[in-house]
């Protein structure tokens, strides 16, 4: 319990630093650190599958982000004395926290989930699917339809990224190609 709180506090500081740093490179690296903290937290929370996935996904998104910012010497622009977005941001964040606070006590206490449906998975999972890794059993057998959706999301994103990164969008033909 304390270790989780400690990691969460570190994550809060990490993300604040990542957002407020002027230097882009250090900002991206610190986000990577936050992600690794999370991977550690998953391990403590008895979710080894998630720890592995979080670790590798973190590395991958770090590589992608670094690829973008590398060799583009541009630091955070100077503030334009434009305090409206900042105030809006603080207000919205504060509102979310303010409304979240009173409902915490309605949730089940930390460490004591209800697990009404989950009990069925745990009891019948091995017998029904033959896979001892219950998380695998859930994502690929009980809730395989979700996983189909998830695979398709990735497929869509790959498709979309390839579309966006095309060299030319429109065919250069004829007189009517007048784009604003």
């Amino acid at each position: 319990m304390t270790d989780i709180n400690l990691i969460l506090i570190l994550m809060i500081f990490g993300s604040i630093i990542a957002i407020e740093t002027k230097d882009m490179l250090s900002s991206v690296v610190i986000v990577g650190v936050v992600g690794l903290f999370q991977s550690l937290a998953f391990l403590i929370l008895k979710a080894p599958d998630l720890a592995i996935v979080q670790l590798v996904v973190e590395i991958l998104s770090l590589v992608i982000l670094l690829r973008v910012i590398i060799r583009k010497e541009e630091s955070e622009p100077q503030p334009h004395h434009d305090y409206f977005p900042m105030l809006l941001g603080i207000t919205l964040s504060a509102l979310v926290l303010l409304f979240f606070f009173p409902i915490i006590h309605e949730l089940p206490e930390f460490g004591h989930p209800i697990m009404r449906v989950a009990k069925e998975y745990i009891e019948t999972g091995l017998g029904a699917t033959g896979a001892p890794n219950l998380v695998s059993a859930i994502i690929l057998d009980f809730r395989a339809y979700d996983t189909l959706g998830e695979a398709v999301v990735l497929f869509t994103a790959v498709c979309g990224a390839l579309v966006v990164l095309r060299k030319t969008g429109r065919k250069k033909s004829g007189e009517s190609e007048t784009e604003t």
Binding site: F99, F100, P102, I103, E106, L107, P108, P113, I114, M115, R116, V117, A118, E120, Y121, D141, F142, R143, A144, Y145, D146, L148, G149, E150, V152, V153, F155, T156, A157, C159, G160, A161, L162, V163, V164, R166, T168, G169, R170, K171, S173, E175, S176, E177, T178, E179, T180
Partner: protein, 501 residues
């Protein structure tokens, strides 16, 4: 009942997915294969959705257990009259837009990727409509949204990229807020099945958590559906996309992912009827503000996009009334708006295709050169402005009558005002684009290719005869039963559990 009745339900998702995978696999080799595959699959889905209406009318709500697992454990798909209604709208308009896109998208590169993303977006919408599981709804919501982000940026010009990025940020925030709501609900009820959640929630007393979750869903789906305070991403995204995509986004996506999902969750699952006044206020505000912003626009597609905000406001006002008549009017307006707004966007695409500009000040007198586009656009304009005998008139009339009946004459007044303003907006469009005198440089333009004309005429015909849907002899219980499904949202859980055997 035979097995075939049931196994058609996952096909609404599986068929477009499979076809889009095959298009990516083979589309590069043979040029025409992606055109043919895409058209055939959307045609098949359209027929399938009509068949589904027949089945649901015959047997009532059907539930499908994916993987054979019984619902709280597995995922179930629910096909009731409301989802059938949405399926018919989505799939039929998609089919017509596909026909249009065959010619229109010749201007762009990577056409097979366009089809693949297009079908993925369709699969996302269908998935949201038929699902009976909260997390599954989120997953398919993301499929539809991510495909639409890619499609908005399809032209890869500056404006499109910027609009897409803005849209993507808003969409991601909306998705995360919805995910937060789902997480809180899971922790609270320990289940993800919609019917099961509805049952558990109805057993508990008023709790602040449910209110918080409802607000999260309202903001999240409101962002996706471009309700008033969250509307500002829509004009950029919808006016930057290629015309068939604008038609899909404005006509279908904001309704399937925004309005439908919001209605389904707030009415059927959370049963948060205390939110109805909020619906009405937000609906009225988006109705009025959208139309006032539309008047001052000089870009054809941007004007249409602002008018979409206004028309979604009508839908929300109708549904927010909470009376059976109001809900029916709202749903009917949803149907009508999908049709005439798609048609108007296709018209604007046709104008853009022929002349290369969307600026109202530069256009003029296209009536002589493009008779089909001009007359279909006239039909659509009269329909959206609510002139009889077109379909838009009937739905607006129903909403206004329902307002008065429910004792809200003020809202009725705003609805009438917005309707008059809409008329002004579309008179402006007609005057500057199709009437007035023909400009010198447009003397040589030609009418758009046959397939584009064909799809526009098809939509105009539906506009013309759409009003008949109100007559029970023609449509059966199509509209009425869909409205009943919302009115009796409380019984959703019971109905779903009954249909599982």
């Amino acid at each position: 009942m035979t097995g075939i009745n049931y196994n058609m339900i996952p096909l609404f998702v599986a068929l477009p997915l499979t076809v889009s995978f095959f298009i990516i696999l083979f589309g590069n080799r043979v040029r025409w294969i992606s055109d043919v595959l895409c058209t055939l699959s959307t045609l098949a889905l359209c027929l399938l959705s009509l068949y589904a209406v027949g089945v649901v009318n015959g047997h009532g709500t059907i539930t499908y257990k994916v993987g054979g697992w019984f619902p709280p454990v597995g995922i179930c798909l629910v096909l009731d009259s409301l989802s059938c209604f949405m399926l018919v709208i989505v799939n039929s308009i998609t089919m017509i837009v596909t026909i249009y896109a065959i010619s229109y998208m010749e201007r762009y590169t990577a056409k097979n990727k366009f089809y693949a993303l297009f079908l993925l977006m369709l699969a996302g919408m269908n998935g949201v409509i038929i699902t009976g599981d909260m997390f599954n709804l989120f997953v398919f919501l993301e499929i539809g949204s991510i495909a639409s982000y890619g499609l908005v940026a399809f032209g890869t010009e500056e404006e499109e990229l910027e609009a897409s990025f803005k849209y993507m940020i808003m969409g991601s925030i909306a998705g995360l807020l919805i995910l937060l709501g789902i997480g809180l609900l899971y922790s609270y009820t320990s289940t993800l099945n919609m019917a099961d959640i509805a049952r558990v929630v109805s057993e508990k007393n008023d709790s602040k958590l449910i209110v918080f979750v409802s607000v999260l869903f309202l903001v999240g789906f409101g962002l996706k559906g471009a309700l008033f305070p969250f509307h500002w991403w829509l004009p950029d995204a919808h006016s930057s996309a290629p015309a068939p995509i604008s038609a899909m986004l404005s006509g279908l996506l904001i309704k399937a992912l925004g309005v439908y999902a919001l209605i389904r969750i707030l009415f059927s699952v959370l049963n948060a009827t205390s939110f109805l006044p909020v619906f009405m206020v937000l609906g009225t505000m988006s109705m009025v503000i959208g139309v006032f912003l539309a008047v001052v626009q000089w870009d054809f597609k941007r004007l249409l996009a602002y008018s979409s905000i206004s028309q979604v406001g009508y839908i929300m006002l109708g549904v927010g009334l909470g009376t059976p008549l109001g809900i029916m009017g709202g749903l009917f307006h949803l149907f009508n708006h999908s049709i005439f707004k798609s048609l108007l966007f296709l018209n604007s695409g046709a104008v853009d295709y022929a002349t290369g500009t969307r600026d109202l000040k530069e256009l003029g007198g296209l009536r002589e050169r493009m008779p089909v586009s001009a007359s279909t656009s006239l039909v659509a304009s009269m329909s959206i402005a609510g002139l009889p005998p077109f379909n838009g008139f009937w739905s607006k009339l129903i909403i206004i009558i329902a307002c008065v009946n429910a004792g809200h004459p003020v809202y009725a007044f705003w609805a009438v005002l917005a309707s008059i303003m809409t008329l002004t907006v579309f008179m402006k469009v007609q005057k500057y684009v199709f009437f007035s005198e023909l400009k010198e440089k447009f003397k040589v333009i030609k009418e758009v290719p046959f397939l584009m004309q064909f799809s526009m005429v098809l939509l105009a015909l539906i506009c013309f005869f759409g009003g008949l849907l109100l007559v029970p002899a023609v449509s059966g219980d199509f509209l009425q039963s869909a409205a009943d499904a919302i009115t009796n949202g409380k019984e959703y859980a019971q109905i779903v559990f009954q249909s599982l055997r």
